[in-house]
């Protein structure tokens, strides 16, 4: 059995914490007590094999995805490939771009199919899968920089909207980024798609060749990175306001094309405290106080 995985309730007695290797999930379900318990048991049962399943196909999952290429075995791996497939013909992307969202989605599905829940979320380090039964909603807080959690806005996701996934990507986060976005937050129908799209959009917020941006080959930092020798952002020095707008516009153009293609529903791009928004989070409210039961999106 997997003795690495940690499965425990957080001290608030409400949220479940699942941890294994680099995977760290905070899970919360809402409903009657017996259903919540059933959901948490299902989540824990599904969770214990997740890392081993992914690692079995890790080599494949670190290779660039090709349109109509071979399919992996695992259900999470398949979610990852499906999420990055729409981008594969246009750009370099590996299924790893959707790993966090795909894991969140898989655990959420295990819960929702084993219990009757009014709402639930699985937060995988900021990549979040949502479950909403009719009439329910989630308030979501957004942070400007993943390394410095402070809310810059909130938004409300209602059950009648198709959004069930949220993800954020940026060079300050845990994963490498080819771009300079502090944070690109994406709302999409699934968490895996939000994750993949956030990666693509954050990469597109960029100023190629700008002297104040330090980049280094990913493999110099992490020899086994799926990004190989591609240059990833290490530091972003002072940028002029015009440059910031140019970088955000480049990202926004990509975000809008994804929205028109119905791959995402909304995106919020952040660079040096400047924000650009496309899509349904135009309903984003900076003044709203964060409601109870919120998600802090770090």
């Amino acid at each position: 059995m997997n003795t690495r995985a940690q499965i425990r309730m957080l001290a608030d007695g409400r949220r479940l914490h699942l941890h294994d290797g680099p995977i760290d999930l905070v899970v919360e379900a809402f409903g009657v007590a017996a259903e919540i318990e059933a959901a948490y048991r299902a989540a824990a049962r599904r969770f214990v094999t997740v890392l081993d399943e992914l690692c079995r196909e890790l080599y494949f999952l670190r290779q660039p995805t090709r349109a109509n290429g071979p399919q992996p075995q695992g259900t999470i791996a398949r979610r990852m490939v499906a999420a990055v497939a729409p981008f594969a013909s246009e750009t370099f992307i590996t299924p790893m771009a959707a790993v966090a969202g795909a894991v969140a989605e898989e655990i959420l599905q295990a819960m929702a199919s084993s219990a009757v829940l009014s709402r639930a979320y699985v937060n995988n380090g900021g990549d979040i899968a949502l479950h909403l039964s009719p009439g329910e909603k989630f308030a979501v807080g957004m942070v400007e920089r993943p390394d410095r959690p402070s809310l810059f806005g909130t938004m409300t996701i209602h059950s009648h909207q198709p959004i069930r996934g949220i993800a954020t990507s940026g060079w300050r986060g845990r994963s490498f980024s080819l771009g300079i976005a502090d944070a690109a937050t994406v709302l999409a129908d699934t968490a895996a798609m939000a994750d993949a799209a956030a990666t693509i959009i954050a990469n597109a917020v960029d100023l190629p060749g700008h002297p104040h941006i330090a980049r280094v080959a990913a493999c110099e930092l992490a020899p086994d990175s799926d990004l190989g020798s591609r240059l990833v952002t290490r530091t972003v020095g002072e940028l002029k306001l015009d440059d910031i707008h140019d970088a955000l516009s480049a990202g926004l153009k990509v975000a809008e094309s994804l929205r028109v293609a119905n791959l995402i529903r909304a995106a919020a791009l952040n660079l040096c405290s400047q924000t650009r928004i496309t899509g349904e989070c135009a309903a984003l409210s900076v003044a709203d106080s964060v409601m109870e039961g919120n998600l802090i999106h770090a």
Partner: protein, 486 residues
């Protein structure tokens, strides 16, 4: 592959990590060619009112938000503090703070315990193995069965003999087992000639693949005593099956007092006192910790002189998890029938009275001379100060039990400590946080390193690598002034 990268084997991702970098988890890193765990230094912050608790596991260090926390509200734990062992020099952190007008000091260090172990209390009646049987993890001997105490089986794991007295592999496996147990992870143990059991602090044990649900309410005889009145009139005979003491209602003192007539029942096993039987079956993992699956197997034929057809018999285990109801046929043979509703309630009540079965992990270690030397130039004075209750000892802010007798040997419930509080060194030995808190004036008296005392706010300002956690509300606050204890 670059020569200077190392492979991390903490999880199946098997990251190659360059010097100065971390793996994909951000928790393990390559420090000068060594794989190290990079947990932030934990500070407990008294904020129970907030309700919110433990800071998420992987949260990055936050920048200092500029607020000043009043001294008494923050306690610096030794988790991640490091150690100066084996050097004869002051502990890494000696911190002063003012609590209710009294200057207090906390000496914070991580102790390296190569003489340490874990006492495991496993709430189960099931037979896990005979006393002194070897307990193995991953095939290596890591401890032994000690005793059965009340409704629990006690194991002793680790200790110097397994950690450093055996083969290298035995030592590292023992260290790994202790570390996992202390950090709240689950561990599979195999008892020689006994059961396989999966244990995890504060979780139910899993014995031979079956998760234990409840502790028994008492032995079979005690159960008869507790429920005799509720059974009286609803059933003619009750047998509470127990590996230790099986109880029989009609013969038991409680039955006699109520005037329960004889039933002609014949029990196997050895009669101890009326209505109390030893060794009705072999120990096992079924009914009441016995090996039986058919409860009738512990009965002989009913005495035809006394028994009568239609006699009603309830057989139940000490946890109420197993039960069966019989009536005697014309040949005085018990025939199984559906449990009447009037008896179902009593079975449910037995079950209700059985508390959830858990595993409890107590870490036991002694603060040796060199650890004490990090606190004072004259280590024995620290022992005296602890003895005299002038110095409070905590582990990661959690209360400890200090054993009477010589030295500072402590015992702490790991589930009351912040998560992942323990580490290890390849010696093999466990690294555990330990804090000594006392009045600043007492610290001076015992020969403390007064020139190394620094105020708490100097630690708080230098927030690099610090993680704030909210303490458990059921732990006493480590900085409460001496004398305020009940």
């Amino acid at each position: 592959m670059a020569d200077d990268a190392i492979r991390c084997d903490a999880c199946p991702v098997l990251c190659y990590i360059k010097p100065g970098r971390t793996g994909s988890c951000d928790r393990y890193g390559n420090q000068d060619g060594q794989l190290v765990r990079l947990d932030p230094h934990v500070m407990l912050e008294r904020a129970q009112s907030r309700g919110e608790s433990l800071v998420p596991f992987l949260e990055k260090t936050r920048e200092w938000d500029g607020t000043l926390v009043s001294d008494a509200e923050t306690f610096v734990t030794a988790i991640g503090a490091g150690t100066t062992y084996p050097d004869y020099k002051p502990a890494p952190f000696i911190i002063s703070s003012e609590v209710a007008g009294v200057d207090m000091v906390t000496v914070v260090t991580e102790g390296i315990f190569s003489y340490c172990g874990v006492k495991l209390k496993i709430d189960t009646d099931r037979h896990l193995g005979a006393e002194c049987s070897t307990v193995r993890a991953q095939g290596e001997a890591v401890g032994h069965v000690t005793t059965g105490e009340y409704g629990s089986q006690m194991l002793s794991l680790g200790g110097v003999r397994h950690l450093t007295g055996g083969s290298r592999h035995e030592g590292t496996t023992t260290c790994d087992t202790l570390l996992n147990l202390c950090n709240g992870k689950s561990v599979e143990l195999e008892i020689e000639g006994g059961a396989k059991v999966v244990v995890e602090a504060d979780k139910p044990p899993i014995v031979d693949g079956v998760q234990e649900e409840r502790m028994r309410v008492g032995c079979g005889s005690a159960t008869i005593g507790m429920f005799a009145k509720q059974w009286f009139g609803k059933v003619d005979e009750v047998v509470v099956v127990d590996d230790h003491i099986t109880g029989v209602l009609s013969e038991h003192q409680a039955g006699k007092l109520l005037g329960v007539p004889e039933t002609g029942i014949k029990m196997k096993g050895r009669r101890s006192t009326p209505g109390r039987y030893f060794k009705v079956a072999e120990p096992g993992t079924s009914w009441g910790g016995t090996s039986i699956s058919d409860p009738l197997s512990i009965l002989g034929p009913f005495d035809p002189e006394v028994a009568r057809p239609g006699l009603r018999l309830l057989m139940v285990s000490t946890t109420g998890e197993q039960f069966a109801y019989y009536e005697l046929d014309e040949a005085l043979r018990p025939t199984e029938k559906e449990l009447p509703a009037s008896l179902r309630e009593s079975v449910i009540r037995i079950k209700e009275n059985c508390e959830p079965a858990l595993c409890t992990v107590l870490f036991v270690g002694g603060a040796g001379g060199s650890l004490r030397a990090g606190v004072t130039e004259n280590p024995v004075k620290l022992t005296h100060s602890v003895r005299d209750a002038l110095t409070r000892v905590t582990c990661g802010g959690a209360p400890v039990y200090v054993w009477p007798g010589g030295g500072i040997t402590i015992m702490v419930d790991v589930s009351r400590m912040p998560e992942s509080a323990f580490g290890y060194v390849p010696t093999p030995a466990l690294v555990a946080p330990i804090e000594f808190t006392m009045k600043l004036s007492d610290y001076a008296t015992l020969g403390g390193y007064m020139d190394h005392v620094r105020p708490l706010n100097s630690i708080e300002r230098d927030n690099e690598g610090r993680q704030r956690v909210v303490p458990r509300s059921d732990n006493p606050w480590p900085l409460r002034s001496a004398g305020s204890e009940k």
